[in-house]
Structures are given as structure tokens and as C-alpha cells.
Symmetry: C2
Subunit: 159 residues, 2 copies
């Protein structure tokens, strides 16, 4: 069990949180609302891609043939299918992404990163990196990183 041995697992289901737990949850809430806004703000300030578009293009750039099915893309960015549809529509309108019918499955659509899209991504990259460094990485010690990743991963995959 390991990480479960110190009483943090739903002892009495209705027992209130400890002071530390309370503090943790509230601070996490604060981070969750404030941080994306802060990074997004930095991007907008410098005329770069908003976070949702940046992340979308980033995942495309990492994919084989710069291509991903809509559903894969949505899952990667962790967005609803419909949300992804609209983002890709926006990006397509600006020529950063192209759409192509899927060969193996006529129902499917691929989003393909264009050269212009790659350029926009590369242009936004330094701003994004600097923002993330300033808001996040500068506050985390390297020794803590792996442990934190571990915790976050468990939270992320709790469904």
C-alpha cells in the first residue's frame, strides 16, 4: 500500500478534513483557477496562441505525419470532442491546420498540422516556455519533481 498507510484514505466517510488536507485542497483549487489564466494571459499579452490552441498544435506536431484523428486529439488535449471540433475549425480558418478524411474509416477526420501551423507553434514556444518557467517550474525544486509527478499522475487518472 505504501502511500495509503497514514490515514489519508477515507477513514470515516463523513469525517471532516484535517487542517493540512483542507489547506492542500484550497491551495490546489487556487492553482487550478489561477494558473491557466496566468499563462493564457501571458500568451495573449505577447500576441501568441492561446493555451488551448498551443496545446492542440503541440500534440499535432509530435504525432506521426503531424496528423491525428479528432478523437485522439481531443483525448490528448483533454478536451471534449465538440470543444476540439471548434478549436480545429478556428485553426483551419487561419490555415494553421488542414483537415483530411480518414482513409481507413470514412467517418473519421484527421487534423493535419500545416507548415504555417508549425511556424506559429514555434513562434509561440519561447513565450509559453518562459511563462511556464516563471509560473511553475521556478517554484519547484528538482528533487521534488518525481515525487510530485507521482502524486499528480494518481490524481489525474482517478477518473
Amino acid at each position: 500500500m505504501g502511500y495509503m498507510t497514514s490515514g489519508s484514505v477515507s477513514a470515516m466517510p463523513d469525517e471532516p478534513m484535517s487542517a493540512a488536507e483542507e489547506d492542500f485542497v484550497r491551495t490546489l483549487g487556487r492553482v487550478m483557477t489561477a494558473l491557466p489564466r496566468a499563462v493564457d494571459h501571458d500568451m495573449a499579452r505577447s500576441g501568441r496562441l492561446p493555451l488551448s490552441e498551443y496545446t492542440t498544435l503541440m500534440h499535432l506536431s509530435e504525432a506521426d505525419g503531424r496528423t491525428l484523428r479528432m478523437s485522439e486529439l481531443a483525448a490528448a488535449v483533454n478536451l471534449s470532442l465538440s470543444g476540439m471540433t471548434r478549436i480545429v475549425q478556428r485553426l483551419e480558418g487561419r490555415g494553421l491546420v488542414r483537415r483530411a478524411k480518414c482513409d481507413e474509416d470514412g467517418r473519421g477526420w484527421n487534423a493535419v498540422l500545416t507548415d504555417a501551423g508549425l511556424a506559429a507553434l514555434e513562434e509561440s514556444w519561447p513565450v509559453h516556455l518562459a511563462s511556464v518557467r516563471r509560473h511553475v517550474l521556478d517554484h519547484v525544486a528538482d528533487e521534488d519533481l518525481t515525487r510530485l509527478i507521482d502524486v499528480l499522475r494518481r490524481i489525474a487518472s482517478a477518473g
Copy 2:
């Protein structure tokens, strides 16, 4: 300095992240989008207050005289003034909150938690607690809590 000594502070501003940093940032992003949705979903599923309203009422319930100025409330919940205006309007419409002109400053308005509001809050409390436990606290060991709080607090207050 302490936590800053291990190279995590913007070494060369344009240098890419390390693998661990990358991993951390992506997983954090995943948590930030998935977690509020998951908790909100739990609340909706059981017919309880949505997260934004729950948090608003919670802060009111903790305040002196169950009363807070609009601006204080917005700051506590970490929301824009206008967003808070609308939430309080909704809550007022359902009788969970009452509004009163501020005594010391005629421009100001107070939001006051009503008995019905307190009841709704208490009714939602167990569901919220259970959801938070299941999605968050069950995955964090007590020993890690203080360290995590420390990191999150620095991130939260980075502006």
C-alpha cells in the same frame, strides 16, 4: 534560498525543459482540467450545488456574521467581480443568499448567507467531501502534504 538551489530557476531562458519538467507540467495540466470537472460532475450527479456556488457559500459561512463584501467574496473564491455578481444573483434568486447595502460605504454591497443557504451548503457538504477525498486526498500521503502545500502556495502566489 533553499528550494532554488538545484538549477530549476530559468537557467538559459530558452533552453527546453528537462524530461521530468515536461512530464510534470503536462500532468499538472491534466489535473487542472480534469479534476474540477470530475468534482463538479459528482455534485451535479447527486443534485447538489455546483462547485462555484458551493465555494461561494462556504466562504460566506466562514465569515463573520455570514457576511462578506462582494469584492472580498470574489477574491476569496478567486473569481472576477462580475462573475461573482452573477453567482450571487443566482443564489439570491433561490433564497440562499441575501444582499444588504454596506453600512460604512454606500457603494458597497454585502452578501449574507441565509438559513436556507446554510442548509443547502450542509446538504452538499458530504458529497463534496467524498468527491474530494476520492479524487484527491486518497492519492496523497500525509507525509507529502506539507511539502505539496508549500509548492502549490508558491505557484498560486506567483502572479
